[in-house]
């Protein structure tokens, strides 16, 4: 899934650099990648979502 995420990021970066008129698509890819990052972190921490402090 991390590989997929970096494909999204590379695509967004390429659009910003070489196809700036596709801003909406590039920003959509950026948002999708952000959400995927959050989801992957939550999957990895689902057994203890909050930091392991002495609450």
């Amino acid at each position: 899934m991390e590989f997929l995420n970096f494909l999204l990021i590379c695509s967004a970066g390429f659009l910003v650099l070489r196809r700036p008129q596709r801003e909406r698509l590039a920003f959509g890819l950026l948002v999708a990648s952000t959400l995927l990052t959050v989801i992957l972190f939550l999957i990895g921490t689902r057994t203890s979502i909050l930091p392991g402090f002495n609450y």
């Binding site: 590989f3 650099l17 801003e23 972190f41 203890s48």
Partner: protein, 496 residues
């Protein structure tokens, strides 16, 4: 300051991110040294890449609100990720951690700092902007900005390569313990371990319920040691003294023939017949140390008592007829002039960590305090902890073993002494007596031999919370303020 100044600063910031943590992580740590990120490290690294990408959006299109908003959100999430990941290793010893160190700090701790710097940098850049700076049309990039974008793409592509080798194509994803990076496909491990079912929890192992003796099995016959010799009831005493709440423990002072009784916040000294309160106070359990609810109590030196909370925090008070009420306002909620506070702190344990206690006993001969854990849903171990009175520091911890020479044996099935729920304890004759509210059993522990020297059934008790010895009798305090007096057990069975 020219119109290009903020963009110049932003370009340098993005370059620093791309060349620093993002590029170094993949090309140096990854490709040169073989370091592979774990599933959490991947998310932290990706977040930094995303912040750099937001910077590129601003360079190209200007500081549109949605870019700035998303940048702040990613930065805030990154700080959270750094906290969450670093917290996994908070309790470890110096130098211990996960994977590699950079300048003396492990990589996952650096991310917390880097995200924080990113948020600060965004704030500074926003301060530098003029009104109406956002543009509807793409900006013409300067050479340095174009170079920054290309470097970003190279770093992102490098990360894609490492991600493919280390984590694989979807649905494979990062692993908790990744093996080192390799360009050789035969060494690649693609895993679905993170997709496996697991309980979802907010606090994880810290989500431990407070101890509660309600609902415990009371029949000694159903206990882990099966049928035991019975301590017969001699009489019952109902405490008619006024208490501020439910009683939680009992102790006896043979020197002055007095009892000590605690409630959740109260400390009461009663006469030897348990008919009259001689001295009392209500402790402000919220001052300084969180004393929560008192679960254990014991006399210490003459005129000194200790109350221990379920969370192993304690307060030691000294009786005084001339206590300064004004000075003691901070320590007590009522009766400010009957005690002086000597100490208020916490006991630290190792084996007994993550478990509550409901008992404390003091052995004057060895100058030691003893606590015994109660099991919880996550940790089920009966651990005896000994603390030196001189410095209140953990001196020994053990799980008492069954000694076959005593004739005691576990009942059939998957039974364990960890099923006992010790709610009261007392030291007598060099032994530690632990009264379990589960199965109404009095367990005799030999602290020197780390073994169980005997066990007795005490049927008929209703939620026992405290234990004390007076002469040849054992006094067992129940939650209903009834003291059940039984004949104290004889000398524990000796090791033959």
């Amino acid at each position: 300051m020219t119109r290009n100044t903020p963009y110049g600063v932003l370009t340098l910031a993005v370059l620093a991110l791309v060349v620093g943590p993002i590029g170094t992580a993949v090309f140096v740590l990854g490709f040169v040294y073989g370091d592979s990120p774990c599933v959490l490290c991947w998310a932290q690294r990706t977040g930094m890449v995303l912040i750099a990408l937001v910077g590129l959006f601003v360079l190209r299109y200007g500081p549109r609100p949605r870019y700035v908003g998303l940048g702040v959100l990613i930065g805030a999430w990154g700080v959270f990720m750094g906290l969450r990941h670093s917290s996994l290793h908070l309790g470890r010893d110096v130098g211990q951690g996960f994977s590699v160190e950079i300048f003396g700090a492990h990589t996952y701790t650096w991310s917390m700092f880097i995200y924080w710097v990113c948020i600060v940098a965004m704030g500074v850049l926003l301060l530098m902007l003029r009104d109406g700076e956002a543009t509807a049309t793409p900006r013409q990039l300067r050479p340095i900005e174009r170079l920054t974008m290309w470097l970003f793409l190279v770093a992102a592509a490098g990360n894609a390569v490492q991600a493919f080798a280390s984590t694989g194509p979807p649905p494979y994803m990062g692993q908790g313990d990744p093996i080192r990076f390799s360009f050789t496909p035969a060494n690649w491990v693609w895993s679905l371990e993170e997709w496996s079912p697991a309980p979802v929890s907010l606090r994880g192992r810290w989500g431990i319920a407070k101890p509660d003796i309600a609902g415990l099995e009371s029949d000694p016959e159903r206990g882990p040691l099966g049928t035991l010799p019975v301590l017969s009831e001699k009489r019952r005493i109902h405490l008619s003294m006024p208490f501020d709440g439910p009683v939680t423990d009992l102790a006896y002072d043979r020197t002055d023939d007095r009892f000590l009784i605690t409630t959740e916040k109260g400390i009461y000294i009663a006469d030897g017949t348990l008919s009259r309160v001689l001295r009392r106070t209500i402790v402000d359990t919220g001052f300084s140390v969180d004393l929560a609810r008192f679960g254990g109590a014991t006399f210490v030196e003459r005129g000194t008592v200790m109350a221990l909370s379920e969370n192993k925090s304690y307060v030691i008070l000294r009786e005084s007829d001339r206590a300064d009420a004004a000075k003691n306002f901070r320590f007590f909620l009522e009766s400010f002039d009957e005690f002086d506070e000597v100490a208020r702190s916490r006991l630290t344990t190792v084996r007994a960590r993550m478990m509550y206690v409901l008992s404390v006993a003091f052995d004057p001969e060895s100058g030691s305090f003893y606590t015994v854990t109660v099991p919880n849903a996550k940790v089920k171990r009966l651990v005896v902890s000994r603390f030196d009175r001189r410095d209140m520091t953990l001196s020994e911890e053990f799980t008492p073993a069954l000694d076959s020479s005593t004739g005691l044996a576990l009942a059939a099935g998957e039974r364990s002494i960890n099923e006992y729920y010790v709610a009261g304890a007392a030291c007598e004759g060099g032994h530690l007596y632990a009264l379990s509210a589960a199965f109404n059993t009095l367990v005799v522990i030999d602290p020197g031999g780390h073994r169980i020297a005997g066990a007795y059934a005490v049927p008929g008790l209703a939620r026992p919370v405290g234990l004390a010895f007076k002469g040849t009798e054992a006094y067992i305090l129940g939650e209903d303020r009834t003291v059940t007096v039984v004949e104290a057990p004889g000398l524990p069975l000796s090791r033959e």
